[in-house]
Symmetry: C2
């Protein structure tokens, strides 16, 4: 997780986008982190962001423990830890919606992981049947369905 | 967060990638979720994935509480909650590396948020000076720096 220390960030231009062939940042090879170096939370988990490697779609976010990460790396398919079932979860094992894992990234604080996957062009990540779990928009003001509230009062111009 | 219920996912093809002009999923408009409907954790927080809207780069993951989300929506710039400082954090307020927020998405379980932002072509999200916080790779086996271990034994072919 990034925290406000990042506001001391140097203005060094970065390279490489998630939609491109992976380009090591600022150097000739990627720095590597092993699973034992990750900073797991009090439950032994890290959040995992899952992104379609070529389109850049953020498909879902789930959790993983160390064994799930090790199995992901060994298997080449996305494995997570289900907090509700309290067990390892090989995504798609029953639905067929497996995620082929092409790369696994670690963030600066080593407490979040990013799976770059191939979900397949017709595959879906979400249990609702949507391609991505992020198929809704956040709005600010509480609303009651079918009863839109009054527009906020305009500030008068001085 | 997605959990194994998703393995019952229907095989409905999804539409729209994060790198495209936002396309409502499976319909003519985006379903909306208001801040009060989110499922915050025991600390009143949700994870926030931050993605560059046009390239698809996953820039960082941080946390937000309800006031930070409301301020993000009102301000049009990324605001988070700093767990280490225990205070609201308007990213870039001191460094200049603000993130203009173009859209905010909510996942199927309403417990993860996605900011689609413009970090600027020369802007950096990470306190290390990298464009993205995800600039390292995960490896499976523990390694000692400068002392690469022996290659794993090959399985003999039957």
């Amino acid at each position: 997780m990034t925290d406000p220390a990042d506001d001391a960030a140097a203005m060094t231009p970065g390279v490489g986008g998630a939609t491109d062939e992976p380009v090591p940042p600022q150097g000739s090879r990627w720095a590597q982190v092993d699973v034992a170096q990750l900073r797991f939370d009090q439950d032994g988990l890290v959040p995992v962001v899952v992104q379609q490697h070529d389109t850049g779609e953020v498909l879902m976010v789930a959790w993983a423990d160390a064994p799930a990460l090790q199995r992901t790396l060994a298997l080449g398919e996305a494995v997570f830890y289900s907090r509700s079932r309290q067990e390892q979860w090989h995504k798609g094992a029953t639905s067929g919606n497996t995620q082929r894992v092409l790369d696994v990234r670690v963030d600066c604080d080593a407490d979040v992981v990013l799976y770059l996957v191939d979900q397949g062009s017709a595959g879906v990540a979400c249990h609702t049947g949507e391609r991505s779990c992020f198929h809704r928009r956040l709005t600010g003001a509480p609303t009651t369905p079918h009863q839109p509230g009054p527009a906020p009062a305009k500030e008068s111009t001085p």
